[in-house]
């Protein structure tokens, strides 16, 4: 579904990524891990069009999307959820969800269904649907940010550090939502620094170190692989 081939990218002239390739398949969760500053967020932002890759390709169902503006990429069916649970603070919860429909206009019935589903998964959002997003807790904002992406029903979901600034106890709820979402046929890519919480929900894992792919493996083997490296 999503194929990234030999990607080089960075900020301005700052090179960050070197020769990164990965594949995300429909129905599966790919977990991308690595230390702080390894280039994980840059990778997601480059895939989503926020920084222009200097070389390499990003293919969505075989179609090249690199070079497109982020808002166009969102419309082709690949949705990035930025890190830091970013929502529109001065908009209500419901209006934040409405903004999600920008990437899939004209499907009123689909929108209503998606909102209902979000409300049933995260009842707190339904309860607070008229509140300003700025008045939500960090965890609720993360739920809202994911809900806004869910409304667009993307084929590929890119999720940048969903756990950032959140209480650990909230993560199972959020991760199992992502798990179910993936099983409906979406390709989900999650970037995380804290791997142990996320790995059980993922199918595959990819570790980045200093802008390069260090290794890939099934998520179940991740602990062993990391332990082996630490032991060296």
């Amino acid at each position: 579904m999503l194929d990234v081939k030999n990607l080089f990218a960075g900020y301005g002239i700052v090179p960050v990524l070197e020769d990164v390739s990965l594949t995300a398949e429909a129905g599966k969760i790919l977990l991308i891990g690595g230390e702080n500053g390894a280039g994980k967020s840059t990778l997601l932002r480059a895939i989503a069009g926020f920084n222009k890759p200097t070389a390499g390709e990003v293919l969505l169902d075989g179609q090249r999307v690199n070079g497109m503006a982020p808002e166009q990429i969102a419309k082709t069916g690949m949705r990035l959820v930025l890190d830091g649970h970013r929502v529109f603070p001065e908009l209500s919860v419901f209006d934040n969800l409405r903004m999600g429909a920008a990437a899939r206009p004209g499907d009123r019935a689909g929108f209503d269904r998606a909102v209902e589903e979000i409300y049933s998964v995260f009842p707190i959002l339904k309860e607070k649907h008229r509140a300003y997003a700025r008045d939500l807790s960090g965890g609720q904002q993360q739920m809202l940010a994911l809900g806004q992406a869910f409304v667009a029903q993307p084929r590929v979901l890119l999720c940048d550090e969903p756990s950032m600034g959140l209480a650990q106890s909230l993560m199972p709820q959020i991760l199992s939502f992502l798990r179910r979402w993936a099983e409906e046929g979406t390709a989900v890519v999650i970037v995380e620094q804290h791997l142990s919480v996320t790995a059980p929900y993922a199918d595959d894992a990819l570790i980045i170190e200093r802008g390069k792919v260090k290794f890939t493996c099934p998520a179940a083997e991740l602990d062993d692989r990391l332990a082996a490296i630490s032991a060296d």
């Binding site: 960050v16 891990g33 690595g34 230390e35 791997l195 990391l226």
Partner: protein
């Protein structure tokens, strides 16, 4: 990017032959002088008094546009009100000379004083605000000025204006050239030289740095507000002289002569000619003023329309202006095979001193006590106590948003603690602004290196030297000479990211800072560059005796070089000590990939 860079420098690039010059400022001065001389003296020599008169005014406007160019680009001040300063010079001189019968020189002195005062009034809001705010303030002044000339008719003669004659200046002299013709041709030439001279001076470099990056300037001990003040003063005096010369040239002042259109002419001339190009104002005034007023004299009513369309067209099609576009072509032609590709600093440093001489001492040079800094509800730095010893390499680590960079900003004076205190070399600097802290011998680098593409590579380094407060030591002097010899005509814009980092480091070395703060220096460096960087930090600490504080994500790098490591989490310090001790701390373990570190 190559990964196997060695410490020794390849000297191939040093002798690629003569490099094209980095800036064409000097040739532009000469071309500008030649053009002004031809138009200034030519008509008088062939006895054409119409053209002679016309070019008197053109040359005065060129001079005013040169000062606008200086103010707009070198000092970064977006002023739309230069016509006011010219008008002040002209009107005040006219009032004292024409109405109160002072001598011309005495009246001109008062006029100049008035213009300088006007410039300082412009500079006042510029201390607080920049950018479009300043544009609106100066534009308002340009609108209000003629209104005031009208309403203060008791002093200004109102709408009737003031007629003056200065026969001593306007009589034909040697070769048919009147003293006035001579002065108004020489003055813009002087202005060209002045602009060029300021640019090449320490003041000019510091002014440009302050214009491009105020925080970069403050880290070099520069007060941006002071630079703006000086810039406005220089521009006001220069433009005021233009106003004084306007008086004998036109022999009449009235409020309509100083409406907002006049200010627009100077601004548009700078944009059309090429912002920041020395020659730009000459070409700009020729096109903006001469084209509609003289060449297309039957369309003189359309002149404002023509100014507007010319400028709009220029900013759309040639954002660099006419001279700027030519200049960029010239520069791009000579771009390949230049020395900056080989920019390295290690060998310059290696050449300086022999062996590792110093070890960290026990004196505390940087100390934070109970430091707290909040941004709204987020407490970025939370009751932090930190001690850094002289000569030590101190690593500061933690997750994103843990407060490392906020702490670094507090140490360098870029932000101020809400509670607690900071002491540097025993002095309480809690309330010091960044420039004062920089002048205490603190140097810093930024996450995004502050590189000034308008300056040559050597000048980018030289601003470090400019920031020194004491005399240059022989070693630094030799180092500077070597760097100048090699990089005076290279462009800093072509440097790779890793090289840009090195430029910033070198700048702090030239500044002879004894405390150096690095903000994520290894981000974006290749592994070879990281190794080089680690050696450079070691060199700074052990051979030059500098204290280094390092905020960095690359834990291998930090563990490899730091003497002491402090770990931050959510604004607070959770662990601090020698690397071996810190790595055993359970609070630190989870930071590592795989959540364990051997």
């Amino acid at each position: 990017m190559t990964t196997d860079k060695t410490m020794t420098m390849t000297d191939t690039a040093a002798d690629t032959g003569r490099k094209p010059r980095f800036s064409s400022d000097l040739p532009q001065v000469w071309i500008g002088m030649a053009l002004i001389a031809i138009t200034g003296f030519g008509p008088s020599l062939i006895g054409n008094s119409y053209w002679s008169h016309t070019f008197q005014l053109v040359n005065i406007y060129i001079a005013a546009a040169i000062f606008q160019n200086f103010l707009f680009v070198d000092a970064g001040q977006k002023s739309f009100g230069q016509g006011v300063l010219l008008g002040l010079g002209a009107y005040v001189t006219a009032i004292f000379f024409g109405l109160h019968e002072y001598t011309f020189l005495a009246a001109a002195g008062i006029g100049l004083f008035a213009a300088a005062l006007g410039g300082l009034l412009f500079a006042l809001p510029a201390l607080r605000v920049q950018y479009f705010h300043l544009g609106f303030v100066t534009l308002s002044a340009a609108i209000v000025f003629p209104q005031l000339l009208m309403s203060l008719d008791h002093w200004t003669n109102g709408i009737n204006g003031i007629s003056v004659a200065v026969p001593a200046l306007t009589q034909d002299g040697f070769l048919g050239i009147s003293p006035l013709t001579f002065i108004v041709a020489v003055f813009p030439m002087i202005a060209l030289w002045l602009h060029y001279g300021i640019r090449r001076s320490r003041l000019g470099r510091r002014m440009r740095v302050a214009a491009i990056s105020p925080e970069g300037a403050r880290a070099l001990g520069i007060k941006p507000g002071y630079m703006r003040f000086i810039a406005f003063l220089i521009a006001a005096v220069g433009t005021g002289i233009c106003g004084i010369l306007y008086l004998p040239a036109v022999a009449f002042v009235s409020p309509q002569g100083f409406n907002v259109e006049l200010s627009f002419i100077f601004f548009f001339a700078v944009v059309v000619g090429g912002r920041g190009q020395i020659l730009g104002p000459v070409v700009g005034i020729w096109i903006v003023y001469i084209l509609p007023n003289i060449a297309l004299a039957q369309f003189v009513d359309y002149r404002l329309l023509i100014y507007g369309f010319l400028t709009l067209f220029t900013v759309m099609a040639f954002p660099d202006g006419i001279v700027g576009t030519i200049e960029r072509r010239r520069f791009q032609r000579g771009i390949s095979g230049r020395g900056e590709q080989a920019f390295r600093v290690d060998n310059f440093l290696e050449a300086m001193k022999g062996e590792d001489a110093t070890e960290p001492s026990t004196d505390v040079v940087v100390e934070v006590r109970g430091g707290t800094k909040a941004f709204g509800a987020v407490v970025a730095v939370d009751s932090v106590d930190l001690k850094v010893h002289r000569g030590e390499i101190h690593g500061l680590i933690g997750a994103n948003g843990s407060g490392k960079t906020s702490l670094l900003n507090v140490l360098s004076g870029m932000s101020r603690l809400d509670a607690g205190e900071v002491r540097i070399k025993g002095r309480d600097v809690t309330r010091f602004p960044a420039d004062r802290i920089a002048n205490l011998g603190v140097g810093r680098t930024f996450q995004t290196p502050r590189i000034y593409p308008q300056l040559s590579l050597w000048d980018n380094l030289r601003v470090g030297l400019d920031a020194r407060r004491e005399a240059v030591s022989d070693e630094i002097d030799d180092l500077a000479e070597a760097l100048q010899g090699q990089f005076a005509d290279d462009s800093a814009d072509l440097l790779s990211h890793g090289q840009r980092r090195l430029v910033e480091v070198m700048r702090t070395v030239l500044k002879e800072s004894d405390i150096i703060l690095f903000d994520e220096p290894a981000a974006g460096l290749s592994s070879g560059e990281r190794e080089n960087f680690a050696r450079l930090v070691h060199f700074l600490s052990r051979r030059m005796g500098k204290t280094v504080i390092l905020v960095e994500h690359d834990l291998d790098l930090v563990w490899g070089i730091a003497d002491v490591i402090t770990v931050m989490d959510q604004g607070a310090i959770v662990a601090s000590g020698e690397p071996e001790t810190v790595s055993k701390d359970p609070a630190v373990q989870h930071m590592f990939l795989g959540e364990a570190r051997a």
